[in-house]
Symmetry: C2
Subunit: 155 residues, 2 copies
């Protein structure tokens, strides 16, 4: 790929998209709780959702770091972070993939125990948060493909 | 990396390891069921485990295909499948990561509902299958790193 600065800008846009999805997913997930007396469901009671929250938070911090490096590289026209981007994007995309899978895994099998749909709000929010995390993963996987190609441009 | 045939052999070994882990995980998962009268737990009742089984089966088939291509390339000393390997390894490693995460996600939160440890065999098997799938993912992720570096050797 000749258009190096073009693919850099594409990566930056995808990273910002990842951030936006993660950010919304975070706020939906932390408000995922519902009370139908005498029962109360809270996302925090489930290890799957807690793991999901952990992947979102680590993802947000790591993603911001990458955006900062990315901007720095575009401004300075440097390429010192090609290997960091390569391994970082791999790490981030795997992390988000497992978070989304754990979220859907817990959500789907939990919903089956609520055939009367009493906790509809709870499950709608859990699914929405998982779906947004999945979108963040898609963006991150696309960046990971671009950063692998960037390796071959360097040499 | 100069040692191209060396990294090819490493990739082949890692792919065979992936296959072995997937193969054992498959047999453990399909025998994951336990009856403690009047209750019966069967992995097939949970979407998370079913998704896990699907990723193992797709992984096994895809992995065998990759091993065949890999052997063909080593014998013929060709490199016609570099892009196929690159995208294939990415796909396979994401697939296995989500399968392992879904398996652990369902297993951990299900086990909490069995505080008396009646279904110990069931959960031990479910964890073992998930852990093996996680090992398969690690091998597959390592191959994915090698196949990304192979991209840069080509150009």
């Amino acid at each position: 790929m000749e258009n190096s600065s073009g693919s850099r800008v594409t990566s930056l846009i995808l990273r910002i998209l990842t951030f936006v999805f993660l950010f919304i997913s975070f706020f939906i997930l932390i408000t995922t709780s519902q009370t139908v007396r005498p029962y109360k469901l809270h996302f925090n009671s489930y290890h799957g959702f807690r793991y999901m929250l952990a992947t979102i938070i680590i993802g947000l911090v790591f993603n911001l770091l990458q955006i900062a490096f990315s901007l720095f590289n575009i401004v300075k026209n440097g390429d010192g972070t090609i290997l960091f981007d390569f391994f970082g994007d791999k790490f981030l995309s795997y992390l988000l993939a497992t978070g989304a899978a754990a979220g859907f895994g817990v959500g789907v099998d939990l919903k089956k125990k609520d055939p009367d749909d009493l906790f509809r709000t709870f499950f709608d929010k859990a699914y929405a948060a998982s779906a947004l995390l999945l979108f963040a993963f898609f963006c991150s996987a696309a960046v990971s493909i671009l950063s692998s190609f960037a390796l071959s441009k360097r040499s």
